[in-house]
């Protein structure tokens, strides 16, 4: 367990390092862009006066070039920012994934917490306690059998029962949120008992 924690610690340091590093890279790229921009823009300010018509056309062209260059730069910055945000989200998700939060499973048309699920919930509650800043979304799911509408209610019931169990284990109720997806988001698309057993579940999302 301790070894595991050290590993998590190391991983977090690594993740932080990455964040800082990628932050720098982003800034550098921006500076470079500006340099290019200045080079492009500079000659236009010292250009000599020529024939008037040409002058107007040239100015318009320069203006357009300048705008295009600015837009290009803005686009590049936005793309870099979006990429950075995406990377960050992916790293967060990966870090949360590595927490090894497990789904719990339910019997057909039931929302009561099974004995095997109690152990999993205890382990999950430990993880939630250690990551006390994160909110927890409990997703309730059903298998495809039955009425979609009833299944939405059943999925909610499963999420609520799970939430209550976590509250009883000491998780602050204000951190917990429930959502039911009924039968609409199966984990396994097959149409047999093995798939249905995997689909009757509560799933956890930290955010």
């Amino acid at each position: 367990m301790k070894k595991h924690l050290t590993l998590i610690g190391l991983l977090m340091v690594f993740v932080f390092g990455l964040t800082i590093f990628s932050g720098c890279a982003e800034k550098k790229a921006v500076v470079k862009d500006e340099a290019i921009q200045e080079q492009k823009v500079a000659p236009t300010q010292t250009a000599p006066v020529a024939v008037k018509d040409d002058e107007a056309a040239r100015r318009a062209k320069e203006q357009a070039d300048r705008e295009a260059a600015l837009k290009e730069q803005a686009d590049r910055e936005a793309a870099l920012k979006a990429q950075a945000a995406k990377d960050r989200a992916a790293r967060n998700a990966a870090a949360l994934n590595d927490l090894n939060i497990q789904n719990i499973y339910f019997d057909y048309d039931k929302s009561s917490i099974r004995p095997d699920a109690r152990e999993i919930l205890k382990a999950n509650a430990d993880i939630f306690t250690k990551n006390s800043a994160a909110k927890i979304v409990v997703e309730g799911h059903c298998d495809e059998r039955g009425t979609a509408e009833y299944n939405m209610a059943l999925g909610e019931r499963r999420a609520q029962e799970t939430k209550q169990y976590l509250v009883n284990l000491g998780i602050n109720v204000s951190r917990l949120e429930t959502i039911s997806y009924g039968e609409e988001r199966p984990a396994n698309e097959a149409h047999d008992e093995a798939a249905w057993a995997q689909n009757r579940r509560a799933q956890f999302l930290l955010k």
Binding site: G146, T147, A148, E149, A153, E156, R157, I179, R185
Partner: protein, 440 residues
């Protein structure tokens, strides 16, 4: 387009009002068509005669109008339309009608529709139609119709409605629509189509989980559940303006139920009080009233047409079953006892019966039962899963969805389970059909 349609209907309606009634329809209902033994009315629909044989456009109009009438009365599910090739008596253009009823009874017709095309111009159509009871040798009605729009199908619908009125006591389900959900992969949206499967239109474009479309009885709104915001919430769509309003976004589950008969209240299932309970939302005042109090799932509420009761699904007795309660939540009574999975209640607009889906021999089938929980009838028997029953406004038909392997269908049947007709068949998942009220 829609405006034009509305305008056409308006024009037609206006002219129908002032059209000359030679004989008013006999307001006599001949046969109890709801009796379990009832099959279908055998009817012969003749091509209409051209009173002015010289008029060129009417040459197609007179057969087209009869074809349209056949199509519409066939939709009602209560007619057996005889093949015109079997007719013994010819219809001579321009000759006065002398009907030998024996020629019609011998081919099995109980009823006979004949008519004349009086004028068919570019946009003006005047037709006269006469319905006969062949066995009694009696005319049931003789009515003139004038249409200024050249819309033959609207004219045919009006004649078909009069035939139904004469034989059943109500005008049937013409001018109604069916809303339903098409599921493609994990995304779904609501579509509508006319009751003859024509004019299919996409109504929502949420590309998310969308469920439970419900028409308001006044035809103004469609309410439904959507995960558009990322969570299950209830929306109310104004069908005239197309504007959508979020009317329920409490924490947890917000599920659309059904409207009160006066269209002023909408029943919902909410889990905001930590359990799935049924609430009535006053749409104007936006106030909520909680109706159920149990530690079980309470879902899928349906208001009775007399406004006095609510049917709903609850698993309070261990498995999902249909219950009734008063509109204040009192007098809860279970009405289904067969099988251990009964859901999706839909109340007949004429009152008295509730249709629902139940699990039997590993398949979902449609049943109906009376308000006391007696006189249970199984309506579908095939090898498909048949789900989500919804009654037509006349109470004579039920629309439902079925799924068999990769095939998915929206079908209608007579309310006694006979004469199933497929409206739409698709590889996508077609679910949750909901029959509209009658549009004016």
């Amino acid at each position: 387009m829609k405006n034009k349609y509305t305008f056409n209907i308006f024009i037609l309606f206006t002219f129908l009002l002032i059209s000359i009634l030679h004989n008013t329809a006999l307001a006599k209902v001949y046969i109890d068509i709801d009796a379990p033994g009832f099959q279908q009315f055998p009817i012969a629909v003749c091509d209409f005669q051209n009173k002015k044989a010289g008029a060129v456009p009417s040459a197609e109009f007179n057969t087209a109008i009869a074809d349209n009438i056949r199509h519409y009365i066939d939709l009602s599910g209560i007619f057996n339309i005889l093949d015109k090739k079997s007719f013994l008596e010819g219809v001579e253009p321009g000759t006065p009608e002398t009907i030998r009823f024996s020629d019609w009874s011998v081919i099995g017709a109980d009823f006979l529709l004949r008519g004349d095309m009086i004028i068919a111009g570019q946009n003006d159509v005047i037709v006269e139609s006469r319905l006969y009871d062949v066995t009694r040798g009696q005319m049931l009605f003789n009515k003139k119709y004038l249409d200024k729009t050249g819309d033959l199908s609207a004219l045919a619908r009006a004649i078909a409605a009069d035939i139904l009125l004469a034989l059943t006591g109500d005008e049937g389900d013409f001018n109604t629509k069916i809303a339903f959900v098409i599921k493609k992969n994990a995304r779904s949206d609501i579509y509508t189509m006319n009751y003859n499967a024509s004019d299919m239109k996409n109504l929502t474009n949420h590309q998310n989980i969308v469920a439970a479309p419900r028409w308001s009885p006044d035809g103004q709104y469609l309410a439904f559940t959507s995960y558009k915001s990322g969570r299950p919430e209830v929306y109310l769509r104004n069908l005239k303006t197309g504007k959508e309003k979020n009317v329920s976004s409490f924490p947890g589950l917000n599920l659309c139920g059904s409207f009160s008969p006066d269209s002023k209240k909408l029943l919902l299932t909410l889990s905001k009080d930590n359990n799935e309970e049924i609430y009535a939302l006053d749409i104007d005042a936006m106030t909520l009233k909680r109706l159920t109090h149990s530690h079980s799932i309470d879902v899928s509420p349906a208001w009775s047409p007399d406004g006095k009761k609510i049917a709903f699904v609850s698993n309070r007795s261990g498995s999902p079953q249909i219950f009734l309660m008063d509109t204040d939540g009192n007098n809860v009574k279970r009405i289904t006892f067969e099988g251990n999975y009964n859901t999706s209640p839909s109340w007949s607009p004429r009152g008295g019966r509730i249709a629902y889906e139940g699990l039997i021999n590993h398949k979902y089938q449609i049943f109906s039962v009376d308000e006391e929980g007696n006189n249970l009838i199984q309506l579908t028997f095939d090898d498909a899963d048949n789900e989500y029953p919804s009654w037509s406004p006349s109470g004579r038909q039920i629309v439902f969805s079925s799924r068999q392997g990769s095939k998915s269908r929206i079908s209608i049947m007579n309310s006694n389970g006979l004469n199933t007709r497929v409206l739409k068949e698709n590889k996508d998942h077609l679910v949750m059909p909901s029959w509209s009220p009658k549009f004016k």
